[in-house]
Symmetry: C2
Subunit: 123 residues, 2 copies
DNA sequence: GAGATAACTTGTAAAATGCAAGAAAAGATT
DNA sequence: AATCTTTTCTTGCATTTTACAAGTTATCTC
C-alpha cells in the first residue's frame, strides 16, 4: 500500500505514514507494553476513541506494519501484532522517548520504567 | 510555555509538541538546509500554506525551539533560527530520515545528499 | 436462544487544514 | 512625501479530520 507523497523527502514520507497524534502511540503499546487487542489499546491513558483506533489499525495493516489475526476460542477477538517492518520503528520510538524525557517537564517512566532500561533497548 | 499533556508518556508528550504533518519539516529546513526566512520555508516541495506556517512558527517560538529576530535593513524581514533546544531534535530528525530512506519506496536524498553523509551526522 | 464479550460503525459537533486573496510594515525609489 | 517593492502575516471560507456518544454485529458460553 502506498500513500500519496508530498515530496521525496524521507522525513516527510515518514510523517505521511506515522506523523499524527495517535499512530505511534498504538505502536508504542504493542512494542513496549505487549498490547495486542483493541480493548487494550483503549485503556491507554491518552484515551484514543474507538473510531480513530479502528481506522489507524486498518491503515497500519494496509501499510504492512501490523498484522491482524483471529484469536481462537473467543468472541470475535483479534490479535494485532507488529510485523518486522513495524518492529523496525523501535529506534524512532526510542529517540522520541529519550528526547521527551529530557526536554518535556513532567514526563515519566512508569511508562518506560527507566530511561536506560532494557525496555527501550532490547532487541 | 506548556501545552496540555495527554499523559506523562514521553512519546505522547513529544507528539503533542511536534507530532503533526508540518512542524518537523520546518525544523528540517532550518537544521539541514539552513533556511531562516518565511519565504524560504514556503519554497519547500511539500508546499506548506502561509497560515499554517505562521501558526507553526509562532508555536515553535513559544515552545522555545525557535528564535525570531528582525533582519536589519530589509523590509519587515525576519530571521528564524533554532535554539539549542531546537537543535537537540537532530537525532529525532535523523532517525526518521534513516527509517524513511530504508522503508519508504521513492525517498531520495538530494534532500540529504547521502544517507551516511555528514549532513545528517554533523554536530 | 439469551447473555456476554469484543470489535467495530454511525451520527454529529468541533477543530484543524487547505486555498485564495489581500492587508500591513518598513525600507527603496522617484 | 508619495508611491513601489518586498516580505510577513491575516482573513474568510470550503473541506477534511478529530472527538464524543451511542449503537450494531459477530461469535462463543450457558
Amino acid at each position: 500500500m502506498t500513500l500519496p507523497k508530498r515530496s521525496p523527502c524521507p522525513v516527510a514520507c515518514t510523517l505521511d505514514l506515522i506523523g499524527d497524534r495517535w499512530t505511534l502511540l498504538i505502536i508504542r503499546d504493542m512494542m513496549f507494553f505487549n498490547k495486542q487487542r483493541f480493548e487494550e489499546f483503549l485503556e491507554s491513558p491518552e484515551g484514543i476513541s474507538t473510531n480513530i483506533l479502528a481506522s489507524r489499525l486498518k491503515l497500519l495493516e494496509e501499510l504492512g506494519l501490523v498484522e491482524k489475526q483471529p484469536y481462537s476460542n473467543h468472541a470475535r477477538r483479534m490479535n494485532y501484532q507488529l510485523t518486522d517492518e513495524g518492529k523496525s520503528l523501535r529506534p524512532v520510538l526510542k529517540v522520541m522517548a529519550v528526547w521527551g524525557l529530557k526536554h518535556v517537564e513532567g514526563t515519566q517512566v512508569p511508562f518506560f520504567e527507566n530511561p536506560n532500561s532494557d525496555v527501550l533497548d532490547k532487541k
